[in-house]
């Protein structure tokens, strides 16, 4: 019998305090249709979160493009990181060109600082996760790719099994390595960090952008179990509950004022694939 991965996911994403939702430069991609929540099944599932740098030209859109491009590329039979980045840059170049054309057509040519921003390009951190079904039901393998400081945490029961790519809250800085929209001389091409592991039904993965990830690691370092605290507001149907929780952490000075995104993925006991139900 073909085994499948069965995962329930939910995403929450809110801007830094003082910004509107449109100014949120975090991005995610979990499913082409299901948006922020749902259950996915398949031999191979993918998730991505990305975080546009504060500085640069429309970095939130670049982050969004990267998350979507990673998702679709990694689900192909052969995944090449180089090809993924190069295609994303190609799409971005087209996007940029048409944006400039529209502005010119509308009689609103770019200001000098917008031209400077376009020349510099946009940068973003990216974290991508792939879950693969194994030989046996309810088990499988996972692989993650990261450039920058978005983090993955794998939790089994009451234990933190994996922390990737950062393991300590001191590793966060204001200048992480990021994927830039331009392959220009003087820009060092970042090599993605990669990790492989195994999962079993009941495991929970958290994909967090940097402010939340730094909080998560600080809590771990203090001997707490932040996944237990984060799970409830992250899984709540009501987005306001997550907003209230983030606000309270920010008010206590425990969370840096930044865009906050969490994708929580719970591995489920898979249901029998269609067509196999009668044979059971």
């Amino acid at each position: 019998m073909d085994t499948e991965v069965c995962a329930r996911f939910r995403v929450k994403s809110i801007p830094k305090s003082g910004n509107s939702p449109e100014q949120n430069e975090d991005a995610y991609f979990s499913h082409p249709k299901k948006g922020q929540a749902g259950t996915k099944r398949g031999r191979k599932l993918a998730f991505a979160v990305a975080d546009g740098a504060s500085e640069g030209f429309r970095t939130g859109e670049w982050a969004s493009l990267l998350a979507r491009a990673f998702y679709s590329q990694v689900l192909q039979k052969q995944f090449s990181w180089k090809k993924f980045v190069s295609q994303a840059r190609g799409s971005w170049h087209d996007h940029e060109t048409s944006y400039v054309q529209v502005r010119t057509r509308e009689g609103r040519p770019l200001r000098w600082y917008e031209e400077a921003l376009i020349q510099a390009g946009a940068c973003a951190a990216l974290l991508g996760l792939v879950l693969r079904a194994g030989q046996e039901p309810r088990r499988g393998t996972w692989e993650a790719f990261a450039v920058g400081d978005c983090c993955l945490f794998q939790v089994r029961g009451d234990r933190l099994l994996s922390s990737f790519p950062l393991q300590s809250s001191e590793q966060f800085s204001n200048s992480p390595s990021l994927i830039c929209s331009k392959d220009s001389p003087g820009v060092l091409e970042p090599v993605p960090e990669r990790i492989r592991g195994s999962w079993q039904a009941g495991d929970c993965f958290f994909l967090l952008t940097d402010a939340l990830a730094a909080w998560f690691l600080r809590e771990c370092e203090a001997g707490a179990k932040p996944w237990a605290e984060l799970k409830q507001p992250a899984k709540a149907k009501d987005d306001k509950e997550f907003q209230r929780w983030v606000d309270s952490l920010r008010a206590k000075g425990l969370l840096r004022n930044d865009d906050c995104t969490v994708t929580v993925i719970e591995l489920k006991q898979e249901k029998p694939a269609r067509g196999n139900a009668l044979s059971r």
Binding site: W112, A116, S173, S177, P185
Partner: protein, 279 residues
Amino acid sequence: MPYTAEISRDKPSCFLFLVDQSGSMDDPFGVGDGITRKKDGAVDALNRLLANLVIRCSKAEGVRYYFDVGVIGYGAVVGPAFAGPLAGRDLVPISEVADGPARVEDRLKKVPDGAGGLVEQQIKFPVWLDPVANGPTPMCQALRLAYSTCQRWVDAHPLSYPPTVINITDGEATDGDPTQPAMELMSLSTQDGNVLLFNCHLSSERAPAIEFPDAEPSVPDKYAALLYRISSVLPAPIRSAAQAEGYRVSDGTRGYVFNADMVSLIKFLDIGTRASNLR
């Protein structure tokens, strides 16, 4: 901890530039072709500082109000020195600075071609200030005007990251010892820390550039030691950012540069994430 206030639209900070426009700025600059005069070096440094500050505050929807910005010129006269639409104004929101250069020039910039060489790239170069070299060097008077400008600002923004004052000069004050007015300026504070005074020293001496030293610079310019002494020690957050950018710093590192611009200082400001692989 001081100097950790978030710079945001609710709590902007302030940049005040003091630009030496005295007659001695007409002398050749000790860097480059030997033809460039110090007044050209000064306005180039200022225009580039302003352009970088604007770019760091630019977002898709426009330029965010993270700073109030002022330019005080000192030479034959002491006062606001913006040229063009901002002429006569003392502190201006950065968004207005972005949209208010006197003109935008097309210039050529040398950039790496990826094969070890350089290629010329056309860039827009906004100009807010033109070179002036005329009269004495009333640096004390400029520092006192900076004091009153900053005092008004800190009174109105008690919780903000404190003002950063950058003095671009060849160091020859003609109205007395600038130490006292500089100390008074640095004694002003918000709840987040004291006003920071940094000095960008442009000299006629052909000596190598020095950036952010932690001891009196040994250069053949008699004003270097004085300007070093009236430069603030870099606060810890700026020091860490400077270190991340590859500068060697210590607890005593001061905001002083000799025959160099201070554009790197803009990178040290904590107004969000930037890529470490961009240089």
